[in-house]
């Protein structure tokens, strides 16, 4: 029980630059979708290899084949010179291949520590060694520089924090080959930096890393090489020093994008909603106004209380104090039903837990909020149901064979488009988008921002929560910074620079740390 975090992942003895894993014609077909056309690619040991591509390009599919989560249709995988069947996750792990998947696949009802050691409790800790386990897990977490408790239930953490735990978990099991599938999707810059430190450290220990992301700047910051998938085909691999943003985007979508952040300015109209000293679980004394035609951005670290604030505004949680004014009049919002009746719409943070009915068709998910409108008395108009769903599928370019496909069969980014798409036809006055573009590719992001503009032009107001600073920075007419449940600063459109906003989001924590040292 004296092992330190250091020797939990002993450096593999591998000379750098040697081929560690090779794909030969690796292919995957799902019923209805040819997700991965034969891919041939070699990974060198000790490299950070980025994989980029549009939503549904086949990135996660490739990872699922490599980790034994899904069986391949054809092709070969050569691991350290020998063919590997990779039929089960267990086999992949035994070889030293681990992954942090796009959707966190851990147990929400177990503690963080139990999750970290899930599957190996027995070999490592006898029965009833809970406290030892928590202590050890805490040590690993602290060592990685993550500011998280090991004894709480995993479900009590935000998705971003869960993602960090998943990363920590992958590193504790003697790994040689580690895959990160969009690990920073829910992270703010600070947490992402902690993760990058971890990734670089692993690399220095000789671990080979695959890094999947839709954020080009991360790819250029981290990777040695980058491969591009388009429609299941590997269209190119580049050394990072010999390529640039524009070339990669061109490879990915076969056209170029002039401008991602499409921003239209409207003269703000009357106030739609106003909160006065609103307090609730996770936030206090928040006062803000959203007017017709404006985007109000909320920036802050994970756990800063932004999601709690909007879900309370939306009636999902009880407020403890304060007032909500709707179009100038005080209102009681006791349930999400009240909120929707007033004219609010919420695209929540977690698509899996709050956003989607995964085992139901895409069409049903898209229409769920508007069934009342597309039915007479109780009977649904089949024609309208089809028309509405197909319109969102076309507008957001949701990649699905038909509207009858189950939501679970879509790629992560395409699922996210459903979470947003279901509110677009609703005709709400206030749209609350909590991390709307998580895992969405560049081309579609641009499309979504254009749709924001369309909503604003019809007189709606938008609250936009994002942990990705450039997004709120480039889109918000008013930008509020949250820190530890309080609204600590407010800026206009581009009136502060990134540095200043980041400092405001962080300040208290640094003071606290400073005090400790």
């Amino acid at each position: 029980m004296t092992s330190t975090a250091q020797d939990l992942h002993p450096a593999p003895v591998l000379e750098p630059g040697r081929t560690i894993l090779e794909l030969r014609g690796l292919e995957k077909k799902y019923p209805g979708t040819h997700a991965l056309k034969p891919v041939t690619l070699a990974f060198k040991s000790g490299e950070i290899h980025a994989i980029v591509g549009e939503n549904g390009a086949g990135k996660s599919t490739l990872i699922k084949l490599l980790t034994g989560v899904m069986p391949r249709t054809s092709g070969e995988v050569i691991w350290e010179g020998n063919p590997a069947a990779l039929a089960t996750p267990h086999e992949a792990m035994a070889l030293g291949i681990n992954a942090v998947h796009q959707e966190v696949v851990l147990c929400r009802h177990l503690t963080v520590a139990a999750n970290m050691f899930l599957g190996e409790e027995n070999s490592r800790f006898g029965i009833l060694q809970q406290r030892v386990m928590v202590k050890e897990a805490q040590k690993i977490i602290d060592d990685l520089g993550f500011d998280l408790p090991a004894h709480v239930m995993l479900g009590d953490l935000t998705i971003g924090q869960q993602q960090l735990i998943a990363a920590a978990r992958a590193t504790v099991r003697g790994t040689k080959f580690l895959i990160f599938d969009e690990p920073t999707a829910y992270l703010t810059r600070k947490e992402a930096d902690q993760l990058f430190t971890l990734i670089r450290r692993l690399k220095s220990e000789g671990v080979t890393i695959i890094y999947i992301s839709h954020r080009m700047e991360e790819v250029f910051e981290l990777a040695d090489r980058v491969s591009v998938l388009r429609d299941g085909t590997l269209v190119g691999t580049r050394n990072i020093a010999e390529t640039n943003d524009a070339e990669l985007v061109k490879l990915m979508i076969n056209r170029s994008i002039e401008q991602v952040y499409h921003k239209e300015h409207f003269t703000p109209g009357a106030a739609i909603v106003e909160t006065r000293n609103l307090s609730g679980k996770g936030f206090e004394n928040v006062s803000m106004t959203v007017r017709a035609g404006e985007i109000v951005g909320l920036y802050g670290l994970i756990g800063a209380g932004r999601s709690e604030f909007v879900t309370t505004l939306y009636g999902r949680h009880r407020k403890s104090a304060g007032q909500i004014l709707w179009e100038g009049k005080p209102v009681q919002v006791n349930s999400e039903h009240d909120a929707i009746r007033l004219g609010m719409a919420l695209a929540p943070e977690s698509r899996r837990d709050q956003g989607l009915c995964l085992n139901l068709p895409v069409g049903l998910n898209l229409n769920l909020p508007i069934y009342k409108r597309i039915s007479k008395n109780l009977l649904i108009s089949g024609a309208q149901e089809k028309a509405q769903a197909d319109r969102q599928i076309a507008d957001l370019r949701i990649k699905t064979p038909t509207r009858h496909a189950l939501a679970s069969s879509l790629s992560g980014g395409n699922q996210q488009k459903i979470v947003i798409g279901k509110w677009l036809a609703h005709g709400a006055k206030l749209f609350i988008f909590d991390e709307p573009t998580v895992g969405v590719d560049v081309g579609t992001k641009a499309e979504i921002y254009r749709l924001f503009g369309a909503l604003l032009s019809k007189g709606a107001g938008i609250i936009l929560i994002s942990s990705y600073l450039p997004e709120v920075y480039e889109l918000a007419d008013t930008l509020h910074v949250f820190r530890r449940g309080k609204l600590v600063a407010t800026h206009g459109f581009r009136t502060a620079d990134h540095e200043e906003i980041l400092t405001q989001a962080l300040a208290e924590k640094q003071e606290k740390l400073g005090g400790k040292i």
Partner: protein, 322 residues
């Protein structure tokens, strides 16, 4: 976007219909085999009898399916049937007009369903527990009301109904159609039907999308209670007595029919035609086993095996796409 629509996709879309056809084929196959291997199966008398037997479980299975789709379970339906026979018998014997007596009995079923909804939504009890509690206590209440005796119903017209046929088909089977068609429209073509599925799939996401989750749950259990009370009325008519201990174990037969008909106990998957076919498949197996002089104990074993086989193959097909 080259998402080639390979034929597999189409079959997936028509999966429900396909599964239904498979069940229908199984039912027809059973009938053909039994007609060939026994002399009495194909007689008009036996077929009518079989339809009568299957009809009551079929109606129970429809209500049960609504509940299972929301991710719940209703263990009380057998007890509700028994209890309803007592209510109907007492009311009719008290001289209350038959139609009024039936209406009141149905209302009792609705009230029991509402109580289940209340227990689940307001008291936070698991469906399994609250309906199990009703199962035992309703039988107890019924026994108290009847002092443990059976009440024989003295109204011939009431009993005639279940013995008679219309257009050569037993009235009881017409009742399946009477329930089945509105249930089908409700589940597959109405807004509330969609809500049953969405709540069963992800209650939180449904809630945030403006679905009234509590009302949806109330509705599912109320419909199940209503179906059970209706079956109670039919049973009272068929047997002519009110007795709270009747319909013992029918809740399990209803659940089995529903599951054989493709309903997933995890929720969000199910139809109306599936459970109906499931109920008649079970009825056929029981009937056939009787005719073939198969030991009654074997019938139970066969039913168990059938459940495992059908659910296994159904699961294989569903997972096949993943």
């Amino acid at each position: 976007m080259s998402t080639e629509a390979i034929p597999a996709e189409k079959s997936k879309r028509n999966y429900n219909a396909l599964f239904g056809l498979t069940l229908l084929a199984l039912l027809v196959l059973l009938w053909v085999i039994l007609s060939l291997s026994t002399s009495s199966f194909a007689s008009a008398n036996n077929i009518s009898n079989l339809l009568r037997q299957g009809s009551m479980i079929a109606i129970l299975a429809v209500g049960q399916t609504f509940v299972i789709i929301t991710g719940g379970i209703d263990l009380s339906v057998g007890a509700v049937v028994g209890f309803a026979t007592v209510i109907a018998a007492m009311l009719i014997n008290a001289g209350i007009p038959v139609f009024l007596a039936i209406a009141i009995t149905l209302l009792v079923g609705v009230a029991i369903g509402l109580f289940h909804g209340f227990g689940i939504v307001k008291m936070g009890l698991p469906p399994f527990i609250i309906t199990l509690a009703t199962l035992t206590s309703l039988r107890g209440i019924g026994l108290l009301m009847t002092n443990g005796n059976s009440i024989s119903i003295n109204n011939d017209a009431f009993q005639e109904f279940s013995r008679n046929s219309f257009l050569g088909v037993p009235n009881l089977f017409w009742m399946v159609i009477l329930v089945g068609i509105p249930a089908y429209i409700f589940l597959h073509h109405s807004r509330w039907g969609r809500y049953l599925f969405s709540v069963g799939s992800n209650a939180e996401a449904s809630r945030l999308s403006g679905v009234n989750v509590q009302r949806t749950i109330y509705m599912a259990y109320t419909l199940s209670g209503l179906c059970a009370a209706f079956v109670g009325v039919l049973l009272a008519s068929r047997i002519g007595i009110g007795n709270p201990t009747q319909a013992e174990g029918w809740e399990l037969q209803a659940i089995a029919s529903s599951v054989i008909g493709g309903t997933s106990l995890f929720g969000a998957v199910g139809s109306v035609h599936g459970p109906l076919l499931g109920a008649f498949i079970l009825a056929t197996i029981n009937n056939g086993a009787n005719l073939l002089n198969v030991n009654a104990f074997w019938q139970r074993i066969i039913t168990g095996v059938l459940i495992i086989v059908i659910v296994y193959f159904d699961g294989l097909r569903r997972r096949g796409g993943k």
